[in-house]
């Protein structure tokens, strides 16, 4: 693979891998380091990359292996991202709705964080990286049914959380 094509692929996948690392490792610096290390590994091992697997599948496998290795190495406490909430405040001028939205998103962040590693990796790949279930199944070497079942459990947890905390109202409009 020539270096121009390699750089292009890295450019296309860098943020996706970073977001996956960020959500799985729950720490910005760790995610940044992990992403760099993942891409260095990709570069080092590019000669062993076979065309039978697509580049994204291969790179996600390297990424998940590295992320799980890092997660085992050090289990850090959940790290909030204050800048996220500052940004949300800036984007909405109505103070009461800002508060409501902030509360809602904080709650969502917590529930996503509380997902099991399997549910979380599927959820992040599906929503953050916008991969299809088929692609996720290829990356994880699991059946589509298993992947979907992780996704359904994750979504059910999110729904229950929103419902229990009365953060959104259901059924009143029908």
């Amino acid at each position: 693979m020539d270096s121009i094509r390699l750089n292009q692929l890295i450019e296309e996948n860098y943020q996706k891998i970073f977001l996956l690392a960020l959500k799985m490792l729950k720490n910005y610096e760790d995610a940044e380091d992990a992403t760099q290390e993942i891409f260095l590994k990709v570069y080092e091992n590019i000669s062993s990359f076979r065309q039978e697997a697509k580049f994204t599948t291969w790179i996600y496998r390297i990424a998940l292996n590295h992320i799980y290795y890092m997660n085992n190495k050090k289990s850090k406490e959940f790290n909030q991202f204050p800048e996220a909430h500052e940004m949300l405040t800036e984007m909405n001028e109505n103070p009461s709705s800002v508060l409501q939205e902030k509360e809602l998103f904080e709650s969502l962040e917590k529930v996503i964080d509380s997902l099991s590693p399997r549910q979380k990796e599927v959820f992040v790949m599906r929503y953050y990286d916008q991969l299809t279930f088929k692609k996720i199944a290829q990356i994880l070497k699991k059946s589509i049914g298993t992947v979907k079942s992780n996704y359904f459990f994750a979504m059910q947890k999110i729904k229950n959380n929103l419902q229990n905390q009365n953060l959104i109202e259901f059924q009143e409009k029908l």
Partner: protein, 193 residues
Amino acid sequence: MKCINKNILLDYLNNELSARKQNKIAAHLSECEHCRKQLAEWEKVLNITQQFIDQDVKIHPAPPHAHITQRFEKIPQKTERYFWVRYWTKPALATAAVLFASLIIFFLSPKSVPSINRNYYVIDNIAYTEEIYLNDEYLDDLENIYLQEIYANEELTDDILYGDWQHYEEVLDNLDQDELEELIKNMYNNSVT
């Protein structure tokens, strides 16, 4: 048609179903208020989740990474290896390492027959003593004196003559305290440590 399972509803909202199934679900939804409510709830959950993720992605752009591609130039790429090398080298090395470790453990493990090179031996007479350390130089004496005493016993003699040290130790263990003390006294002139 029965009410729609929540997983199917999510598949429906994610356009994961075939056109035929999608139409079937749509037809059921037009008739069933309960399922319409369920669908509306899930739609709301998916919309909020998507909004949250859009914000989250926006505030977490890819960190600067131009320097990574520059670092590539300094790192040598691993050269491509043949299929069998890639898939067999590691298991073969692991097997060799296990065999090597087993051999090391086997040769270094304490043997029941004392080696000539050891500086001293331990006789552990469970009944009467704790541990008595015998220096090499006294070991031959111990053997000679003890042999004289037990030669009378024909069953034991063979084992001792043919060097069955395990048996020999068992015999030592079975001596009573007086016999053992006498033996040691004779042999060391009370210089046992």
